[in-house]
Symmetry: C2
Subunit: 350 residues, 2 copies
């Protein structure tokens, strides 16, 4: 089956506006260039080697993946500088990581001795070298550790065969982290430990990059597409959102309510103010509920309902989880389909 224009596509389909995506890539790279820091796109947002390649061509320094399986797909596609800002845990997983490090530069992050030891054992067994950053705990209250513990972990990494201390990682790298970052850098400097990379990340932290001059690189995924989360947080307007889910009206029997063929298996279940997506053509409509294959839209703000078969476009709440649900994304320019991408690293849970 061939598709020449978006009108040939069945629904739900995920469209990527290439003009917007290309502009988003340039904008993010330019911001990092202006600050003199490297941009390292996080591919979890698209999971598509061709898009990452376009990001590298625009000047990006390498990629970040969130799991070993994603890294394997991108290494296979020729990427040779791969960061996994994650605590990789588990004997088989660390062994695959170590194998990957035989053919590509692989950098991971850690926040505990246990994670270091697991990865070290695998790297020693395989005979590869794994670069390792220590994660500082941030306002995100997720993973990461304290300055004192970071120093201890850095020393341990430096003293371990087949590991190489690569620097510090922060997520999200809000300006509020700076005192902790400076404290850690001072501890490392006093111990004579060189810090090659200070890696920041997070869409929300883009606006803080200039407030953290210690950053040497920035990892962000969402900025390639943006989404309603980004708009809601004030990072960009809807006019920068490159991903839209093309949906069809499948039922319009009730006053003020329309049902779309896009639900939690197409646009996921994350919400903003109780809404599951932003209706591009109908900004006053409310996508207030989803089942797996149904989206419920409140059209009471409008005098008339769209008809069964009418196409509507949804700007998703969160692009990264939407790409992960689909086998293909469609790169479009106007109504033309210019490229059909397989979401190569989707659904890889390990």
């Amino acid at each position: 089956m061939t598709f020449e224009t978006v009108h040939d596509l069945e629904t739900p389909s995920v469209l990527i506006d290439l003009d917007l995506m290309e502009a988003n890539i340039v904008t993010m790279q330019s911001r990092c260039d202006a600050l003199g820091i490297a941009f390292r796109p996080h591919i979890k947002t698209h999971k598509i080697p061709d898009i990452a390649r376009r990001q590298l061509e625009a000047g990006a320094t390498g990629i970040a993946c969130q799991k070993v399986s994603e890294a394997e797909v991108f290494a296979e596609a020729g990427f040779d500088d791969i960061q996994i800002p994650y605590n990789i845990v588990g004997a088989r997983k660390t062994r695959r990581l170590a194998a990957l490090a035989s053919s590509a530069k692989v950098t991971v992050t850690v926040d505990s001795q246990a994670v270091i030891d697991g990865i070290a054992a695998a790297a020693q067994e395989v005979g590869s070298t794994i670069h390792m950053m220590v994660e500082l705990v941030s306002l995100g209250q997720r993973t990461g550790t304290t300055p004192e513990a970071a120093l201890a972990l850095a020393k341990r990494i430096g003293a371990t065969d087949n590991l190489r201390f690569a620097g510090l990682m922060i997520y999200p790298s809000d300006a509020a982290i700076r005192p902790r970052l400076l404290e850690t850098l001072a501890l490392l400097e006093a111990a004579g430990i060189a810090v090659e990379v200070v890696s920041g990340g997070g869409s929300g932290a883009i606006s803080d990059m200039h407030l953290l001059p210690e950053l040497t690189e920035m990892r962000v995924g969402t900025c390639v597409f943006w989404d309603w989360n980004s708009v809601s947080a004030g990072y960009v307007g809807f006019d920068k959102c490159a991903m839209r889910v093309r949906a069809s009206v499948v039922s319009a029997n009730e006053p003020g309510r329309v049902i779309l063929d896009s639900g939690s298996k197409s646009i996921q279940s994350e919400t903003i103010e109780g809404q599951f997506g932003y209706m591009a053509e109908y900004p006053a409509a409310r996508l207030y509920k989803v089942n797996e294959e149904h989206g419920y839209v409140d059209f009471s703000a409008y005098d008339s309902l769209p008809s069964v078969g009418e196409i509507a476009h949804i700007i998703p709440v969160h692009t990264c989880v939407v790409a992960n649900l689909h086998n293909q994304l469609y790169g479009v320019r106007g109504d033309s389909i210019e490229v059909i991408w397989d979401v190569a690293a989707r659904g890889l849970v390990w």
Copy 2:
């Protein structure tokens, strides 16, 4: 890579307890048998032909799928009585539906003339016959139509070449729908229109089946695995939940908080009382937040935290959306892996 026991599996992995699944299959079939109605498993929950085959072997009458692409996968696997309780809209999709109806008995549901006309055109072009049920609107306030409109649609189906009126569909088939159902049946009888099937559905409606003696069949998906939604609604206990997500602790640096390697790309984002999954080994722990690859668990109810690398099992909020996120499910008996299933119809958005 071969896996003999669950201990060989990396995380996150989705385990299906075969003893529990087999018992769940028997229980649902027995309930329907006792009421003299057919059971038609909805495969959206597992998307795996082998599991549907086990359901048919236990006595099920055929399957339900939620989209044409799922139906195509199951037809390919040899299933020849496939219901799609959905308004199929779109020229390419209806053409594929009609093609499918050339080799299998295909039944769809409709709630408007527009949907009937689209499917009829495709069936007439292809030369196949499509069975068509009319959906009655229920308390679910989703798709469906009124008794009067149902009569008009049934007449239209009966008068259209290549379509065959098959009966009525309800979702969910709560007892409260009965007056509307009886009214519709009376209208159809008065018009001399035979009703072959009255198809009920929905996990919550299982307990109402005996209150709707007009039902000739029941479609349910979740009852093969059950989940926290089902437990929360009082349908079953956790001891009947056959799906568990095997997860690893990847960070345990803060008092009272542990981070798992399972987030919204592994267990989805649906919640019950603000929790994203039920921790099987730690019922007093609260999985209070997810990012894509991180699950945040509040362990403040416990004196000590599990360690990095420790395995924990999550009973998901909603099994159907979890199966859809994974490439494989692992059928286990005790610690042994008895079968590895490809989730054959996952990620098929059309």
